[in-house]
Symmetry: C2
Subunit: 346 residues, 2 copies
DNA sequence: GTTAGCACTCGATAGAGACGAGTGCTAACA
DNA sequence: TGTTAGCACTCGTCTCTATCGAGTGCTAAC
């Protein structure tokens, strides 16, 4: 698809105008508010061409034109190329280093929604390596053990297991031995690397306490696996009411549900993490391009942040197709940049 | 306020009918669909009285009547008295004991929303005692310590602290000593009981490592305090779209925001926990009775569950004023009953 | 290739009228 | 005295129609 410069200009004008107003834009508007100095009639001819190419469409015969998904796509691609390096300041985003990453990310989601007037989502980072860093067994009560598992990136999981009454009481000495055994044999391994053979070996070393070892490994593995579902924070879901094309009851209800249930957002984050695995570029899903059914009328823009230590997550904006792509991309770039800076250890 | 039996019957008929249809109910309807055998004219007279008493009101001159907040209140009070003991079966609520309390509660919220067609909220339990049960210091890396704090009710908090480079390296022996020190002196105490004097004593006992003790206590205290904000799960927020009186954009947007931000829900849960401190009865907030501004057009019904071990939390239903109070109360009672059963240790 | 002009389309908006549910009031009845 | 039938009245809702105007495609002229 090769567009003449004039067609490109007209398409951009249509998209931009539609982004602002949300109304179909007519030939006269274009002719008046661009520096093309063309009459509306000429614009009309060009528009007819653009429509034939599937870049814009008419909601009804006597209405102006609105961009099609394909049209947005062309616009966005163009825009991304230009924006490549420019990183807008998200000035007031006061990222004083919060103690808790969770709080920070929640704050980030809120800030994102506030500054763009779209809905936002942020995923907690996922530890890609999933390597065990530390395991600790402690006695909580005479029949309860606390297992603390630390995964690469200082993600900490706890679990309490109840001991059978049959189990003989564990004395301090034994606890210490078990702890040492577990740490020396398992540290640095990922779940995939913990083979059945290794488990068997551990069990035999543990002797009478083999049952405990089994439970610990089970718990540890599950702790790590439980991390597979990305935790998602959202904000500004109610912003969808700002855009009539999303605000009707049917669509709004579905979207709200998507935001509350989060399962779809999770897979969206997942997908975008995959997609941007190598270059941490921006992903843009326009309308039907989105993997989420309920977002057929939305556009979704996502970016990936990288805290180092194998911790990567997704931030995203969900809004109407007539989204201010420029601003959204800037905001996301700034945010991911800042997150990267804050947490990347020197 | 003393109502004749006939007035009571008519009021109930109006409320019930309005709950079903959502339409103002006229005198003729009442006359036809009750066993009162009165003409519509008589009903009209009674209705005029009820309106004068502020129990029902007319949206406009030629419309039927709808219950006022006060009217709902009378109806609900009546209903609660009758329902006192009856616990409906929430038949399909398949509460196979989930491992994770979080998952279970989330599931409960979902189930609640599904079975009632209203929005639901469930708070994680709060440890009312806040007594320290166990503290564990572990070395993660040469300059990082992991603090694990267990509060009564097996609520576990973790925290990583970075050691100053100045700090001399801690050997195994010292770690053990510190752990013993912390556990012997702090276990069984609540935050309020940890006095400055106690801290000073601990510090002096710790000698050169007093700085670490300070940090640990700080972290422990903060971990516990961080628990003060109740964690809230919601489900079925989109159910508000089922009820026209809540579904207009302004109201819906505000409600959705309340559900997403959760701060208001948190204080609601808080308040209801307070209110039902002694008897774990049902709380009903009708319209303006609710402490949450955005819920002036809703009714909120909450109940408290008690897992034993000092763990209490709130479950609630948020819906239109014309809520099926009967059903909601039953559902909540069943749910809390089941939660109590599942977790209460024999 | 560009533009002016014109007939045409079609959604949006507003007003008029019909409809009907529901009321309050009055007068008659048991 | 309480209950009821009847009737005029109110007012929101729905439907229909007319009007308006933004925008188009096409043609002919520049």
């Amino acid at each position: 698809m090769n567009l003449t410069e004039r067609k490109t200009k007209i398409l951009h004008a249509i998209v931009r105008n539609y982004l602002e107003t949300g109304e179909p834009v007519g030939s006269r508007t274009i002719s008046k508010y661009t520096d093309l100095n063309l009459s509306s009639a000429t614009i009309r001819n060009e528009m007819a061409d653009l429509e034939e190419m599937g870049l814009i469409l008419q909601p009804h015969t006597s209405a102006g034109r609105i961009p099609s998904d394909k049209g947005y796509r062309v616009y966005v691609d163009e825009m991304l190329r230009e924006k490549e390096q420019e990183v807008d300041r998200m000035q007031e985003m006061l990222l004083e280093k919060e103690e808790k990453l969770e709080k920070l990310l929640q704050q980030a989601a809120r800030q994102l929604a506030l500054s763009t007037n779209y809905a936002s989502m942020v995923s907690l980072p996922r530890a890609v390596g999933n390597k065990l860093k530390f395991i600790q067994l402690s006695r909580l009560a005479h029949d309860q053990l606390l297992i603390t598992v630390v995964i690469e990136g200082n993600i900490i999981k706890n679990r309490v297991i109840d001991l059978d009454d049959l189990e003989e009481v564990l004395d301090e000495q034994t606890m210490l031995k078990l702890n040492i055994l577990l740490n020396t044999r398992l540290n640095g391994l990922s779940v995939e690397e913990i083979s059945l053979g290794l488990i068997a070996a551990l069990k035999s070393e543990a002797g009478v306490h083999s049952e405990i070892i089994a439970q610990v490994i089970d718990a540890a593995a599950e702790s790590i696996r439980a991390d597979e579902g990305l935790e998602i924070y959202t904000s500004g879901a109610n912003n969808i009411f700002r855009y009539p094309e999303l605000a009707d009851q049917q669509k709004a209800s579905e979207l709200i549900n998507t935001f509350e249930e989060k399962a779809d957002l999770r897979s969206l984050a997942e997908e975008s993490l995959q997609a941007t695995a190598e270059d941490n570029a921006i992903q843009v899903y326009i309308g039907a391009e989105s993997p989420v059914q309920t977002m057929q009328n939305c556009s979704v823009v996502t970016a990936t942040y990288d805290l180092g230590d194998g911790l990567r997550g997704t931030v995203g904006i969900i809004g109407p197709k007539r989204m201010d792509y420029d601003k959204v991309v800037s905001s996301l770039k700034t945010l991911t940049y800042q997150l990267d800076q804050i947490y990347k250890r020197a």
